[in-house]
């Protein structure tokens, strides 16, 4: 009977919410508060009903085992969904302010209003996603406390003082975000202060993520906590564990990548639905910037990942082997496929840009063909497994457990080499696009055109040499000397060439870039990139969690729940894909809500694109960096 009453009341709330949505949106922007409030009420009601059933189900079991469970999906999967959604939203919310701030800074320095408008549009997406992130964080917390009370108790014993830091930072970030967003127009005359607010916003965001990272990394690489430490010292000692900073850096870069590609996908979708040429030009440009930011972050990301994995090996070789050589080793083949597609998708978008936005694009055809061949070869090698499941007959036919080809290409030396080569090729693609509409006017113009590609070629040769040499040295030399030198060479080349090109571009003449001419497949490439990044983050989150095997806190607190196992990759992929789809739909809804404000004032896309339809027009006046 109670269930019927609850159902009826829930149905009533839902109907009212739907009605409020209709009336609220029809009434315009101001009316949106009504459905949002009703939606929150509806959600809280559902949470209350669900949580009371949790309490009834689980209270008896929690006292003995330290766990509560719910039927059907199970407690672990609920936590998985909430955690991954929170992390994805969190990544977006922390990544976007970084490049929004950079865009605003460029706008201030160059005097080009397009960048300021773009930064504002990025921030608009941020404000729409911010409250959802917080809500998902709260849901995750409630689930953890409800389902894993013993574990949360143990974690709180170590970290409870850091909760205050986290809450304090969260409040500061919220206040700063409100000031940054709502003060955008009113502070247009005091851009210095506004930029300072943006800087603070990023600082608080970064500090928030590293506090949360300390909890997650302590689970993977806990350190010994001597008795008698004060709560602050204890929390600090636990936070300062071996994988904390590698993960901080890795996530910081990954957040930028996620934010960039998501904004790119947003622009791609808006581009497809654009009604006017101005709108198309604006979203084409925004898509380009989003893809550029994604690529910009993607290039150093493998290095950060390498550092993190190296620290995991240093901390506990067994955990490292579980990751790279144990039951998770096939996961890295999937990772290779995802990253490979991401590189291909990003390059493809650059190439489409060259073909459709620039003039005289035919001359790039042969280079692009070369890039495709190299990328596909690297992709093939990267996704080559070290061993294959083979029948006895097959094993005899290939002469052992390892096929000669798999034995050569399936090892770390080959994979490090090809990942570095793919980075170099992508950088070369970008370089080509960067210079596509520019003619150097410096005296050493000819050298400026040749030297960057020579440097990239030399770096590629060194990377290949070190990769081959890696087969003839002990693993320790390969890991600590050759791989590091490969990474150093590529990073060094990227920085050196960028500086060189920037210097050579001073005073360059610019030709027209035709924004808004990209075919629809470019938008699909942007969406593909965004989906690849989301899946990749989900997959690597699973890897990090599964590397702890049956420990909540590795070697310290064992998982004794019925979910102490890590599911096989197929099952994990199903969860990851489902969550990715939920996230995409969630984000679409939020972005749609955010876009209503532009429909409301009726000038979003137009005003942003209005200053120049083609980069060359303003670029010729020396105002616009046309990349």
């Amino acid at each position: 009977m109670t269930a019927v009453r609850v159902g009826l009341f829930g149905g009533l709330l839902l109907r009212r919410w739907l009605r409020a949505v209709r009336t609220g949106f029809a009434a315009g922007i101001e009316g949106r508060a009504v459905p949002v409030v009703m939606g929150v009420c509806c959600f809280l009601f559902i949470c209350a009903v669900v949580s009371s059933s949790f309490a009834q189900e689980g209270s008896a079991t929690a006292a003995g085992s330290g766990y509560r469970d719910v039927p059907w999906l199970g407690s672990r999967n609920w936590v998985w969904i909430a955690a991954q959604l929170h992390l994805l939203f969190g990544g977006f919310v922390l990544g976007v302010p970084i490049f929004a701030w950079v865009c605003e800074l460029i706008g201030v320095r160059s005097g080009d209003p397009r960048y300021d408008k773009l930064a504002k549009e990025f921030t608009k997406l941020l404000t729409a996603a911010y409250s959802t992130t917080a809500l998902l964080g709260a849901i995750l917390l409630f689930m953890l406390i409800g389902f894993y009370p013993k574990f949360m108790n143990a974690l709180s014993d170590v970290f409870y003082v850091s909760y205050f830091v986290y809450v304090g930072l969260f409040l500061l970030e919220t206040v700063t975000l409100y000031l940054y967003w709502y003060g955008w127009d009113s502070m247009s005359g005091r851009k210095g202060w506004h930029l300072f607010l943006g800087l603070l916003l990023n600082l608080f965001g970064f500090l928030i993520v590293i506090v949360a990272n300390s909890w997650a990394t302590y689970q993977n690489s806990p350190v010994v906590l001597p008795a008698g430490l004060s709560p602050w010292d204890r929390a600090w000692a636990a936070a300062h564990n071996p994988t904390w900073w590698p993960l901080n850096i890795h996530r910081l870069i990954a957040n930028v990548v996620l934010g960039g590609f998501l904004c790119g996908a947003y622009a791609g979708i808006r581009y497809l639905g654009a009604k006017s040429h101005e709108e198309r030009a604006h979203y084409d440009w925004m898509g380009y910037i989003g893809n550029f930011i994604g690529i910009f972050g993607l290039l150093p990301l493998p290095f950060a990942g390498y550092w993190l994995t190296m620290e995991i090996y240093r901390y506990n070789q067994q955990m490292g082997i579980t990751l790279m050589g144990g039951f998770l080793s096939w996961l890295f083949i999937l990772q290779a496929v995802l990253i490979g597609v991401l590189f291909l998708g990003s390059n493809y978008y650059f190439w489409l840009g060259l073909a459709h936005r620039t003039e005289d694009s035919q001359k790039y055809k042969k280079y692009i063909l070369g890039f495709i061949i190299v990328l596909l070869m690297c992709f093939g090698i990267w996704m080559t497994p070290h061993s294959m499941v083979a029948s006895l007959q097959e094993a005899r036919a290939i002469g052992g457990a390892n096929h000669p080809l798999l034995g050569v290409f399936g090892v770390m030396s080959a994979k490090m080499t090809v990942s570095n080569l793919m980075i170099l090729v992508t950088f070369a693609s970008f370089l080509m696009y960067w210079r596509a509409n520019k003619i150097e006017t410096v005296r050493w113009a000819k050298a400026a055109r040749v030297v960057p590609f020579v440097l990239i070629g030399l770096a590629a040769l060194y990377v290949i040499w070190a990769g081959v040499y890696g087969y003839f040295v002990p693993a320790i030399v390969r890991i600590y000397v050759l791989s590091v030198s490969q990474v150093g060479t590529v990073i060094g080349t990227l920085i050196l060439v960028s500086v060189l090109v920037m210097i050579s571009m001073r005073g360059a003449r610019e030709t027209t870039l035709h924004w808004g001419r990209m075919p629809p497949k470019a938008s699909y490439a942007l969406v593909l990139n965004a989906v690849m990044v989301i899946v990749l983050m989900g997959l690597m989150g699973y890897a990090r969690s599964a590397s702890r095997v049956y420990w909540h806190i590795y070697g310290v607190m064992e998982d004794t729940s019925p979910y102490a196992f890590s599911p096989p990759l197929g099952e994990a992929a199903f969860m990851i894909c489902t969550i990715t789809l939920i996230f995409c739909l969630f984000v679409s809804f939020i972005f749609w809500v955010a876009s209503l404000s532009s429909h409301g004032d009726g000038k979003a896309g137009k005003s942003a694109a209005a200053p120049s339809m083609v980069a060359g027009a303003a670029g010729a006046a020396g105002k616009v960096p046309a990349h």
Binding site: N316, Q317, T322, A401, A475, V535, G555, A573, L581
Partner: protein, 265 residues
């Protein structure tokens, strides 16, 4: 826009389906928590038994075979252990497994030679966390790899659990009556059901002020009077045997002294 959105959604579903298909097509392996097998030293009679147990631990709970191989192998990450039983002493094997970085080899492939620290975890600490008896079994297996096993099964006797002494329930009933327990514990059968284990019941008899009083809802009432001093170990064992034999809701077989409550006064 809605048509475009639908197309994009279908595109995303297609990508995700392709990824799921690929992830399901590769070898599927779940990571299960290790089966907790308790090593029972009483079952190990011969050196061969000990070596067999050690072999199981080597390839199972100890996870040694993740890195070490027995015989040359393409994928070895740590020294090949073939024949090491003939080269290493028992003490060195113990030191290598419990303090892997105590003795550091030099790497002569570089000039000048550098220390080559072992990255092996201590196998008697978490996460591997072998017990002392298990450690001895693994050591015996390593010794058996080309050498003579010097560890005797009887050494494991040191790790046998203390023998369980069972009390006499009849003698326990006498103790129960002698102590006049029924003066206060009239519904003892129902109360006994509240104790999760024998150990907690025993603790409640000896130190009743906390858990026992709470379990019976008699917080604030006078606890037992120094039963841990009044009772001998045998008396306590007998009493426990008697209490364990009582079924829930079964009244103690004694003649309780009339109290105010029972007389209705």
């Amino acid at each position: 826009m809605s048509k475009e959105f639908l197309k994009i959604t279908m595109f995303v579903v297609l990508i995700l389906s392709a990824f799921y298909y690929m992830a399901s097509s590769i070898p599927q392996q779940a990571s299960l928590p290790p089966v907790k097998e308790q090593l029972d030293p009483a079952q190990i009679k011969t050196k061969a038994d000990l070596v067999n147990v050690g072999r199981k631990l080597f390839f199972g709970k100890g996870q040694c075979a993740l890195c070490h191989t027995i015989g040359a192998s393409h994928g070895a990450r740590a020294p090949n252990l073939e024949g090491v039983g003939a080269k290493l002493t028992r003490e060195f094997i113990y030191e290598s497994t419990t303090q892997p970085s105590k003795y550091i080899y030099m790497d002569y492939t570089v000039s000048p030679p550098k220390p080559f620290p072992a990255q092996m975890p201590k196998i008697n600490k978490p996460p591997v966390d072998l017990s002392d008896a298990e450690l001895l079994a693994v050591m015996s297996f390593v010794q058996s790899l080309g050498g003579e096993v010097t560890i005797e099964p009887r050494e494991l006797a040191a790790f046998l659990p203390p023998p369980v002494v069972k009390g006499d329930p009849n003698a326990g009933r006498a103790v129960f009556n002698k102590l006049e327990c029924a003066r206060c514990h009239q519904q003892l059968g129902a109360v006994l059901g509240k104790y999760a284990s024998k150990e907690s019941l025993r603790a409640a008899v000896v130190r009743p002020a906390g858990a026992a009083a709470k379990a019976e809802g008699k917080e604030g009432k006078p606890p037992h009077f120094e039963f841990d001093r009044k009772l001998s170990v045998k008396d306590l064992d007998d009493l426990m045997a008697y209490l364990e034999g009582l079924q829930p809701a079964q009244k103690p077989e004694s003649t309780p002294t009339p109290t105010k409550a029972s007389t209705g006064a």
